[in-house]
């Protein structure tokens, strides 16, 4: 099951550049939360702070508190421990090109020492079922490589790979921006189903997508969280003029 995320006084820097300013946010468990805002506003940096990927960038640093359920991400938790509980899907599908579909999904489990082939096969099937890819690949699991799939299928394969380690949170950084509308529709449908079991945080430039899939939406601007509320409120009657100017396209 998904867990809630509590962020308090989160600040992030790239060298001297202050990228996130005092972010305070409570993300509801088992809901989809969308983060929107113009390029460079800090939304991707924010989700990279949730799974401690931000600190992998040279000279990047973070201050503040991030709690994934009861787990303090920055106090007494290793990045590996944390990332077992937080899956991530990126803008561009990145399957392991030389691995079969099966091995792509099983990669995380094998890395964690799983060797029981029967159990692995069960988890691979369940993960591919959850990512709505099973029916399309069940007959070629070992024959085809991850790279042989279409873009939309590759992205669902990456989702299956993330789900295989049974995370509690799924971070998605513009997961549909490289996909056609049909593949996008499948991923959105998937997000809708997955939030029953996972807490989902999705960064998107597509505001209609945010409106379609997320119960909560946060608007970032210049490294600050300007407004965070229920999605229908943000898109019909936002409280902050800056949010309204952005979502109505009056910006710039």
């Amino acid at each position: 099951m998904g867990v809630g995320i509590q962020v308090e006084h989160l600040n992030a820097w790239y060298g001297k550049s202050h990228a996130l300013h005092d972010i305070n946010l409570k993300i509801e468990a088992n809901h989809a939360t969308a983060l929107i805002g113009p390029s460079g506003c800090g939304k991707s940096t924010f989700i990279r702070c949730l799974n401690r990927m931000h600190e992998t960038t040279p000279e990047a640093r973070v201050e503040g508190t991030v709690k994934i359920g009861e787990l303090d991400a920055y106090d007494g938790t290793s990045p590996t421990q944390l990332r077992r509980r937080i899956g991530m899907v990126f803008q561009k599908p990145n399957p392991f090109p030389a691995m079969s579909i099966f091995d792509n999904v099983a990669a995380g489990l094998k890395l964690n020492g799983y060797r029981d082939r029967k159990h692995l096969a069960e988890i691979v099937e369940r993960s591919l079922q959850s990512s709505a890819l099973w029916d399309e690949v069940k007959d070629v699991l070992h024959k085809k490589s991850g790279a042989s799939l279409s873009g939309g299928q590759q992205q669902r394969l990456c989702i299956a790979r993330a789900l295989a380690v049974e995370p509690e949170v799924l971070l998605m950084d513009e997961p549909c921006s490289a996909l056609d509308p049909i593949s996008t529709g499948k991923i959105e449908e998937l997000i809708f189903q997955l939030k029953e079991q996972y807490t989902i945080v999705i960064v998107t430039h597509n505001m209609q997508q945010a409106a379609r899939v997320a119960e909560y939406t946060g608007f970032f601007l210049l490294g600050k969280l300007v407004e965070y509320d229920r999605t229908e409120k943000i898109f019909t009657n936002p409280s902050d003029k800056r949010t309204e100017d952005y979502i109505t396209g009056r910006f710039g």
């Binding site: 509801e28 209609q208 509320d229 009657n237 109505t248 910006f251």
Partner: protein, 240 residues
């Protein structure tokens, strides 16, 4: 800035104002026709109806295109929804003007009667409501719209008084029944126009504040929650 979208919204505003002007003019002409038993004005109202209907279709088509092609959000979405609803109300205002004109045409064939009802006063109040409702749309001011809502009760009372006095007239002077009935129907048509002006004002408030104030459910500033929303609200936001 989405220039083409803004041009579309401006065009929609202009078209609705033109429609509003035609509907307002129709009501005023119908009321003057009643006061002066003027068949020429009646004819003008009848002929003007097709123009109002044409405007209604054009506005709906443009609003439909903007919704489909531009995916408006927030204040723009509320504006377009409000325009489509105001559009329907203005068309109905035009219909009421036609109904009044038809009553007058019936009335002119009858002997003139001095009825104890002040239709002129009621006409003035209703015309003022329509004018102010349209002003609130032009200015985008919810306060002006709010004032129109308060005027509706006055017109309702005028209609009630007209009913009582005209029914009494019919009882006391049966020979004036048809004239009294015409006047009573005109009073009812005017009261309906006032209702449409009220609807228009409510739509302006919805557009400007994001608040649904229909059916006397007053809400401040659009911060209402729908009943199905959970009580737990997300914690917000930046410290400025």
């Amino acid at each position: 800035m989405r220039t083409r979208f803004q041009q579309g919204l401006d065009e929609l505003r202009q078209k609705l104002l033109r429609m509003g002007g035609l509907a307002e003019q129709a009501v005023e002409r119908a009321c003057q026709a009643y006061q002066e038993r003027d068949l020429t004005r009646c004819q003008m109202v009848l002929e003007g109806e097709s123009q109002i209907n044409r405007c209604e279709r054009e506005i709906d088509e443009l609003a439909f295109d903007l919704l489909a092609m531009q995916q408006p959000m927030a204040v723009d979405l509320r504006f377009i929804l409000a325009v489509t609803k105001i559009n329907a109300d203005l068309e109905r205002v035009g219909d009421q003007a036609v109904n009044i004109a038809e009553r007058v045409m019936d009335m002119v064939g009858l002997p003139a009667a001095d009825l104890p009802v002040d239709i002129a006063r009621m006409s003035a109040a209703v015309s003022a409501m329509v004018r102010r409702a349209l002003e609130s749309f032009i200015e985008g001011k919810a306060e002006l719209a709010q004032a129109v809502l308060e005027m509706d009760n006055v017109v309702d009372r005028m209609r009630d008084e007209a009913f009582i006095t005209l029914v009494k007239t019919m009882n006391d002077h049966p020979e004036l029944t048809r004239q009294a009935l015409d006047a009573l129907l005109v009073a009812r048509n005017l009261e309906r126009v006032a209702d449409h002006a009220t609807n228009i004002s409510e739509d302006v408030i919805f557009w400007v504040r994001g608040a649904d104030v229909r059916h006397n459910v007053a809400l401040e500033g659009g911060d209402q929650q729908s009943p199905q929303q959970p009580t737990a609200q997300p914690a917000v936001t930046e410290s400025h």
